[in-house]
C-alpha cells in the first residue's frame, strides 16, 4: 500500500526541522517499548536536543512512510540530519563507539555505556511532536 502523501510530507517536514528526530513507541517520559526506551536513554546520556514522535497512534501509516523514505519499517528509528541512523542495536553500538556523539556534535560522556541508568529528564529535550491524523 502506498504511503499517505500528506503524512509523508509531514514526516519530511519534521525531518527538516529536527536535526535529531526519534520515531518511537510512546513518549520519552513514558516509552511503551523497551527498545524505544533504550534509544531515549542513549539520547539523554548524550544530552542532545531531539524531537520525538510517538508512532503508536498511526503505526501502520507511518510504517508505509518510513518504508518509502528509508526502506525501514520497524520502530524505533533515529534520524540525524534527515538520514536514518538505525534502530536500537545500531544506536547503542554507535553510542558506545563515540560515532553517535560525533554525528550529533554532542560531547561523548566519560562513560558511554548503553543501558546505563538514565539521568533525570533533560530540560533541553523538546516536547513530543504530534502528528495528527487528518
Amino acid at each position: 500500500m502506498p504511503a499517505n502523501p500528506e503524512l509523508k510530507q509531514k514526516v519530511e517536514e519534521l525531518l527538516g526541522q529536527n536535526q535529531v528526530l526519534l520515531f518511537m513507541k510512546g513518549t520519552p517520559e513514558a516509552p511503551q517499548c523497551g527498545f524505544s526506551m533504550r534509544v531515549v536513554g542513549v539520547l539523554e546520556q548524550l544530552g542532545v536536543e531531539y524531537g520525538a514522535v510517538d508512532v503508536l497512534p498511526l503505526l501502520d501509516p507511518l510504517r508505509e512512510v518510513t518504508g518509502e523514505l528509508a526502506d525501514w519499517r520497524t520502530f524505533p528509528q533515529l534520524y540525524v540530519n534527515g538520514h536514518l541512523v538505525g534502530g536500537c542495536d545500531i544506536v547503542e553500538e554507535m553510542f558506545e563507539s563515540g560515532e553517535l556523539a560525533e554525528m550529533t556534535a554532542a560531547e561523548q560522556p566519560a562513560r558511554a555505556q548503553a543501558g546505563a541508568p538514565q539521568t533525570p529528564a533533560d530540560p533541553q529535550q523538546s516536547p513530543p511532536l504530534q502528528i495528527e491524523n487528518s
Partner: protein, 80 residues
C-alpha cells in the same frame, strides 16, 4: 519457528565470504540474533550493512518464521 541453519545459509549466500553466526536468543526459535562479518560491508554505513542482512532473510520475516531479528555487523578484513 525458523531453521537456524537455513537462515545462516541465506545470509552466506547473499554475502559470499561472510562469517555468519545465528543464535536463538530466547529458545522459542523466532527471536534470532545474527552476527555477521562480511567483506561487502566495507565503506557502508551500519544501516546499510543491516539492510543487506535483513534483505537476505526477508522471506523468513515475511512468512512469520522469524519474529524478531537482532543484527550485529562488522567489516570482515581477512588481514586483520
Amino acid at each position: 519457528m525458523a531453521d537456524l541453519a537455513e537462515v545462516k545459509g541465506m545470509i552466506e549466500e547473499a554475502l559470499p565470504g561472510a562469517e555468519v553466526e545465528v543464535v536463538d536468543e530466547t529458545g522459542s526459535g523466532d527471536h534470532l540474533r545474527a552476527t555477521v562479518r562480511a567483506p561487502q560491508f566495507a565503506g557502508k554505513s551500519r544501516i546499510d550493512q543491516h539492510r543487506l542482512v535483513r534483505a537476505a532473510v526477508q522471506p523468513r520475516m515475511d512468512d512469520g518464521s522469524i519474529h524478531a531479528l537482532s543484527i550485529k555487523t562488522d567489516v570482515f578484513d581477512p588481514g586483520g
